[in-house]
């Protein structure tokens, strides 16, 4: 079989016509062959063009590959042969009413009607209040009990439903049903006025504002043929790394809190705030909102800023290091982290785990190294792979990444940064074009994919948050794990509900 998928580049706009449009059977055979051979799914979605529905796949091996096909109303599920398509086919079924026959677990993703007004694949009537109306996977037996949690949880946390099937304390299966945060982001991006787009994009997941706004900006820049300057690329890289540090530090504190070791929990909580304040220093928002815009950044970095940031980083760096040492050298912490919620490398590959969750299982993939954007091509990003796949490994990867990110920022701050700031820009996008952007957000591979129509308007806007891959990793971690270890495992992933729900 000759490979028909086309090799494409991260963040490069190409004509839609240049993407191989294959007969369905060939598309399916090639896509499953690539993924069964170790490839991964970056994007797989449906879109409407000239009154017909097509499927588009963006896969990755050591290159990015794309192809499309006409979508049948129903088709033999790719998932039946190749698991990593699992979530994507469910999403296509929900969004477009196209049925993947033989899908091993065809259930809704976010509870909403499809965009074609065709019969709902799941038989739902969305005029009713639907969430929760679903037969959860259940285990039978006298000693089995179920625990249902959510959508409203006990803390200040996003909503979602968790259904545990347990024998005694041991979890046999955890099923996670999300969709409560569904705001219709992809559709809103199609109809909203162009000046609103960066605002919608950066609020897809607020803890990943910089990641999402980067993916958005790079896509718009590619379609409009805009080049950004060096200075803005440096500031954006700093923004993304600050976001990574703040989240990792916060989560490591939360992990410490979950094993009842309170000093690091409190110190990390406070230090996370200091990193958020560095984003505030840069752009006036603690989450980096408003920093990245198509064309560059909205705020300059003058020498005062640069010195202030450098001073803050050098003051915090030893504190961070010492608190991490305190956490990792405590026997009671280690004994709780080690072997807790382990996922094997082969399961991680099958589920398609990305980011620190994948690296904790030995999958070294990091967009910053494999498909670099912004300044990353000039930086040395280590592999950070651990092998044990447990809470310890997920925490360890994050600790390493925090220290590396601090060094990255220090090196980027060592020279003056000059940039032309941008604000509202009216971008004319190339018609009939396609672009996919990928960035390593703190949870892993984040991707936006845009298709434009014949007049340069947005035909389809597809968003994939890393959490779309990783929620099943959390379920897998809970297999045969004590239910009381759920919070610890949950925190070790800390996945996004709103990024998943869109």
């Amino acid at each position: 079989m000759t490979m028909e998928f086309k090799t494409i580049s991260n963040g490069e706009a190409i004509p839609i016509e240049s993407i191989p449009h294959l007969p369905f059977d060939e598309f399916s055979a090639q896509a499953t062959a690539i993924v069964s051979g170790g490839g991964k799914v970056v994007q797989f979605f449906a879109f409407k063009i000239d009154g017909a529905v097509r499927l588009m796949a963006v896969l990755r091996t050591d290159a990015l590959l794309a192809a499309s096909c006409d979508s049948p109303e129903s088709y033999p599920a790719l998932t039946a042969q190749c698991s990593p398509f699992h979530m994507f086919e469910r999403e296509i079924a929900e969004q477009y009413g196209i049925r993947p026959e033989g899908h091993p677990w065809l259930k809704m993703v976010r509870y909403h009607a499809n965009c074609r007004d065709v019969d709902d694949v799941f038989g739902n009537d969305y005029s009713e209040d639907i969430p929760g109306k679903y037969d959860y996977y259940s285990v039978a037996g006298d000693e089995i009990h179920e625990v249902a949690v959510g959508p409203v949880h006990a803390g200040v946390i996003e909503p979602g439903h968790f259904r545990f099937n347990c024998i005694g304390e041991r979890v046999l299966n955890l099923e996670i049903q999300l969709g409560y945060q569904h705001r219709g982001v992809e559709n809103l991006l199609l109809k909203a006025d162009s000046r609103r787009l960066p605002f919608i994009a950066e609020n897809i997941a607020g803890d990943t504002s910089v990641g999402h706004s980067l993916c958005h900006a790079q896509a718009m820049e590619a379609l409009a043929g805009i080049r950004t300057d060096d200075g803005s690329r440096i500031i954006r890289t700093i923004g993304l790394e600050l976001e990574r540090i703040a989240n990792h530090v916060g989560d490591l504190g939360a992990l410490s809190g979950d094993v009842a070791f309170l000093p690091p929990a409190n110190y990390c909580g406070r230090m996370r705030g200091d990193f958020l304040n560095m984003s505030l220093l840069l752009c006036g928002n603690r989450f980096g909102k408003g920093l990245v815009r198509p064309g560059g950044v909205r705020f300059p970095m003058d020498d005062d800023n640069r010195r202030d940031l450098t001073a803050r980083i050098s003051e915090l760096k030893p504190q961070v290091k010492h608190v991490f040492a305190l956490l990792f050298n405590s026997p009671s912490v280690r004994s709780r982290f080690e072997r807790c919620g382990a996922v094997s490398r082969s399961d991680a590959e099958t589920l398609g785990l990305v980011g620190p969750a994948g690296r904790a299982c030995g999958i070294a993939y990091d967009v910053r190294r494999c498909f670099p954007t912004e300044q990353y091509g000039r930086l040395d990003i280590p592999e950070n792979a651990e092998s044990t796949g447990d809470v310890w490994a997920r925490a360890k990867v994050r600790v390493d990444e925090v220290m590396q990110s601090i060094e990255i920022i220090e090196s980027l701050l060592s020279n003056p940064v000059e940039t032309e700031i941008v604000d509202v820009s009216e971008n004319r996008m190339a018609p009939d074009s396609f672009v996919v952007t990928l960035n390593e957000a703190w949870r892993g591979e984040l991707s936006h994919c845009l298709l434009t129509d014949s007049s340069g308007g947005i035909l389809r806007y597809k968003v994939k948050d890393p959490s779309f891959h990783n929620w099943n990793g959390l379920s897998m971690s809970l297999r045969n794990t004590g239910i009381s270890d759920f919070p610890l495992n949950n925190k070790s992933y800390n996945l996004s509900y709103c990024g998943f729900d869109l």
Binding site: Y111, Q181, G184, D193, Y267, R270, G273, L280, K289
Partner: protein, 247 residues
């Protein structure tokens, strides 16, 4: 043990002295907008056109802080001639119409509910409901529990059950899929109960306004006592609002 002590020493005491002493936020922080009533009409109109949130009324020369996401575009475009953002983080209001401002914000303490002060002034237990925002509002509520803000020292806590709560704090634009759970949480909270809307999303739908999947304003569903603007509101805005309204 020695390590624990060494870290304790290095970390020092970081709890803020607020409200005894005021706090200065970083220069680029955008708090209460100040509006120049004498700005040329074309400048005001240009700001209104550029505002992603349609928050500016150029004729009345006002900003709707409920819609505003404090992006600073209007300040930039008008080169501060029409809108300039101050460092003042005390921007919560008790009446929805107070969100529309020409720069002055009515004193929150004067508009707080006296019976709430009496009941909850010494102990206020809140249940948070996250309903379809971006999770940054939740994050900046959560930090109130960290040592710097240390909300518990004021007798205010976030609790695990609405049955233990004196009120609910709602974030997000309340998706269709979250509406029932939110209303049930409200019902489960014993009366008298306070309803607090936090963030542009909960106030007006925020950046997601116009999506058929959401609700444009919590006040269309429930009676809201306290409106806290921002995207997200700075933790100090939240803290100021809670202390001023309930203490």
């Amino acid at each position: 043990m020695l390590n624990v002590l060494k870290n304790r020493f290095e970390q020092g005491c970081k709890t803020s002295t607020y409200p005894k002493e005021n706090i200065r936020l970083l220069p680029r922080y955008r708090g209460r907008p100040k509006i120049n009533p004498d700005a040329p009409p074309d400048v005001a109109a240009a700001c209104a056109t550029a505002c992603p949130q349609e928050a500016i009324d150029p004729a009345a020369k006002t900003i709707d802080m409920g819609r505003c996401v404090f992006c600073g575009t209007c300040e930039r475009i008008s080169r501060s001639r029409f809108v300039a953002f101050t460092q003042d983080f005390s921007i919560a209001v008790a009446e929805k119409e107070h969100l529309i401002t020409a720069g002055d914000i009515p004193d929150l303490a004067a508009h707080s509910r006296q019976h709430f002060k009496k009941l909850f002034g010494r102990s206020l237990q809140l249940r948070q409901v996250s309903a379809a925002g971006c999770n940054a509002c939740e994050a900046d509520l959560n930090v109130l529990a960290t040592p710097f803000f240390d909300l518990a020292r004021f007798g205010i806590n976030f609790v695990a059950s609405p049955r233990h709560a004196d009120g609910i704090v709602v974030t997000g634009p309340i998706s269709r899929n979250m509406k029932t759970a939110l209303l049930q949480t409200y019902e489960a909270t014993p009366e008298p109960r306070a309803v607090i809307a936090v963030g542009s999303c909960a106030l007006t739908g925020g950046p997601f306004r116009g999506s058929p999947e959401i609700t444009e304003g919590l006040d269309t569903l429930l009676p809201v006592d306290l409106f806290i603007p921002g995207c997200p509101p700075h933790p100090m805005t939240n803290l100021h609002a809670l202390l001023t309204f309930f203490k």
